[in-house]
């Protein structure tokens, strides 16, 4: 066996190991959500029971509704702002903006959570859905901006100029030429923002206040007692939603997932 082939096999081995670690736990969660037992210990038999429990759980449904609402609103706002920021960073060689945009990504979440909490208290923003949404927008904008900017960097500069040259105002050139061409990046950014928002725990934990709760917070408060199969069921649905989003994104803009 040549060294190169040995390294190749090692790489394949690591890859398999990695994927096993990634996906087997997920498969276990899915399987146990259909397990007719209170314990996540052994397979007893198939049941829809935990889904019935889940859909009867008012608190859980309220939390899920909040999460979806916050996810949609915050990712929509973050996508618009992030796209503008990405465009600005590309169009003008700004020094400060990239730092402002990228830093929140690098800052530890716990710091962001604490500082946002302080900020909201200082500004008298009541803690609840609005504060959570604002916080999510804040940490998602940077991700969208970076994706959009890299998409713009790969775009032929002369296309926008050609649009202007052929009679388009700056806004029309952006809307008719630049935006459609960076759309895969915008959609990828929106998707990223939505998933970041849906499963954020740390920052949300700080800025949620007492009344509002989101899915991750609710799940966390439940597993403090015990991991019931109801958590498995809600996790399975969450996975399904994510998968659906990826499929939709792939349909809407086939290049988005491949980063084209």
């Amino acid at each position: 066996m040549t060294p190169a082939r040995g390294i190749g096999r090692l790489a394949v081995g690591f890859a398999i190991f990695g994927y096993v670690f990634l996906y087997v736990p997920l498969l276990i969660v899915i399987a146990y959500s259909f397990n007719d037992s209170r314990l996540n210990a052994e397979w007893v038999g198939f049941t829809w029971h935990w889904y019935e429990v889940l859909f009867a759980d008012e608190q859980m449904l309220a939390a899920a509704g909040n999460s979806l609402l916050i996810g949609v609103v915050s990712s929509a706002i973050a996508t618009v702002l992030g796209t503008l920021a990405g465009y600005a960073m590309h169009r003008w060689r700004l020094r400060l903006l990239p730092i402002l945009v990228v830093t929140p990504i690098a800052i530890p979440e716990i710091l962001t959570g604490v500082s946002l909490l302080l900020f909201f208290v200082v500004c008298n923003v009541s803690l609840g859905l609005v504060s959570i949404t604002l916080a999510h927008v804040a940490f998602c904008v940077g991700f969208v901006a970076i994706v959009v900017r890299s998409r713009l960097a790969g775009m032929d500069e002369s296309l926008t100029e050609a649009a202007r040259d052929l009679g388009a105002s700056p806004w029309r050139a952006f809307r008719l030429v630049t935006l459609p061409l960076i759309m895969p990046g915008v959609i990828a950014g929106a998707l990223m923002a939505f998933t970041l928002s849906i499963d954020d725990f740390v920052i949300t934990f700080f800025v949620a206040g007492v009344d509002a709760t989101t899915l991750p917070l609710q799940i966390y408060s439940m597993i403090k007692i015990a991991v019931t199969p109801e958590v498995n069921a809600v996790s399975t649905l969450l996975m399904l939603l994510t998968l659906l989003l990826i499929v939709v994104a792939a349909r809407v803009s086939p290049g988005a997932l491949r980063g084209e």
Binding site: S158, L159, E161, R164, D165, L181
Partner: protein
């Protein structure tokens, strides 16, 4: 009045002067070419005409109107980009319809005008294709159709044929000439290819280091270059250092280093300035070569030896070492000797000669 007036335009990038006090006056209906080596400022000048960039000083007038501060979309000028810049998410028809839509053309008129434009560039039936489904030549035509569909006053073309292979380039050159004549739009054409410039243009501005070195018709540029740079850049040329000995009515008597006395034409300003140093520009195809020159008009005659030759199919380029030690390039069309293979071998004793009006004196 000229359609486009460029008055003393300068553009700097930091300390670097990309366009240096250029003044040009371009008439309506003209096929005007900016010719120069890469980096001499052609694109920079074109971008200022299009409105993508602003001069640091000087001004550009289109149709008598000062274009300072006028954005590209408000100039009646369209550009054919070197990369074509076709919108990849639009079909051919949508690309061509774009300027019509921007100009607020009634929806009912758009389709027929797009068809007409496709017809102009022989692309009928391609309207539903996307740019990536077209060949280089076809993309080029779409770019032309799109830029011309709403008949701008002025069309700017930045090395539009540079990406095409030689055969296609020649074909497109002929089509460009026909198209320009048919629609009568003024073309400002940028190229670094001197053959292309000579073939296409009514007038050529030869640029070097941001300046216009010479502005003339192609024939004049070729036969009477006004500087060493122009002579060297356009076509093949022997450039020989020399001194003016005396001047007559039509000709100058020169003493060429390493060669001897030569009679040549020169600019009027050089007349009578005995002792002035300069360059003799002599086109290789104006020099005759034979074992024994018989033509009476070859008044400048030198004996020498064939040093080497370059066979290129239609012509053979000989390098002849004249007895004084100078090497001259001499071009001989292969049909002139009645055979397609070489005629002289290295080492052959030959005579070279040319008429008094073949050589051209350039002041330094």
């Amino acid at each position: 009045m000229a359609l486009l007036e460029i008055r003393d335009v300068t553009r700097r990038f930091g300390d670097f002067v990309a366009v240096d006090a250029v003044s040009l006056s371009i008439d309506a209906g003209e096929f005007f070419t900016l010719l120069g080596p890469s980096g001499c400022g052609k694109t920079t000048l074109l971008r200022m005409i299009a409105g993508f960039d602003q001069p640091d000083s000087g001004r550009i007038e289109l149709d008598g109107r000062d274009m300072t501060g006028v954005p590209p979309e408000e100039r009646n000028v369209h550009t054919v980009f070197q990369s074509y810049a076709l919108f990849p998410h639009m079909t051919v028809a949508q690309n061509i319809a774009f300027p019509l839509r921007m100009a607020g053309c009634p929806a009912a008129d758009v389709a027929p005008r797009v068809q007409e434009a496709l017809d102009d560039v022989s692309l009928v039936g391609m309207d539903r294709r996307f740019p990536h489904e077209l060949s280089g030549g076809q993309r080029q035509r779409v770019a032309l159709a799109r830029a011309l569909v709403n008949r701008p006053k002025l069309l700017l073309l930045d090395e539009p044929l540079a990406a095409l292979d030689a055969k296609l380039r020649e074909k497109m050159q002929l089509e460009l000439i026909t198209l320009q004549k048919e629609i009568g739009v003024t073309f400002v054409y940028v190229t670094h290819d001197q053959e292309e410039a000579l073939a296409l243009s009514h007038r050529i501005a030869v640029m070097n280091k941001g300046r216009v070195e010479q502005l003339d018709q192609p024939q004049t540029i070729y036969s009477a270059p006004r500087s060493r740079f122009v002579a060297d850049f356009i076509g093949e040329c022997n450039l020989l250092d020399c001194t003016v000995q005396s001047s007559g009515d039509a000709t100058l008597q020169l003493d060429v280093d390493g060669l001897g006395g030569v009679r040549a034409t020169g600019p009027d300003t050089a007349k009578g300035r005995t002792g002035q140093r300069g360059t003799l520009a002599l086109r290789p195809e104006k020099v005759s070569i034979a074992r024994e020159l018989t033509a009476a008009d070859c008044t400048n005659r030198f004996a020498g030896k064939v040093f080497d030759y370059l066979y290129t199919g239609d012509v053979t380029l000989y390098i002849v070492e004249v007895d004084g030690g100078r090497r001259l390039e001499v071009m001989l069309p292969n049909n002139a000797v009645g055979r397609s293979s070489k005629f002289f071998e290295p080492g052959d004793a030959v005579q070279v000669g040319w008429r008094d009006d073949a050589g051209h004196f350039l002041e330094d």
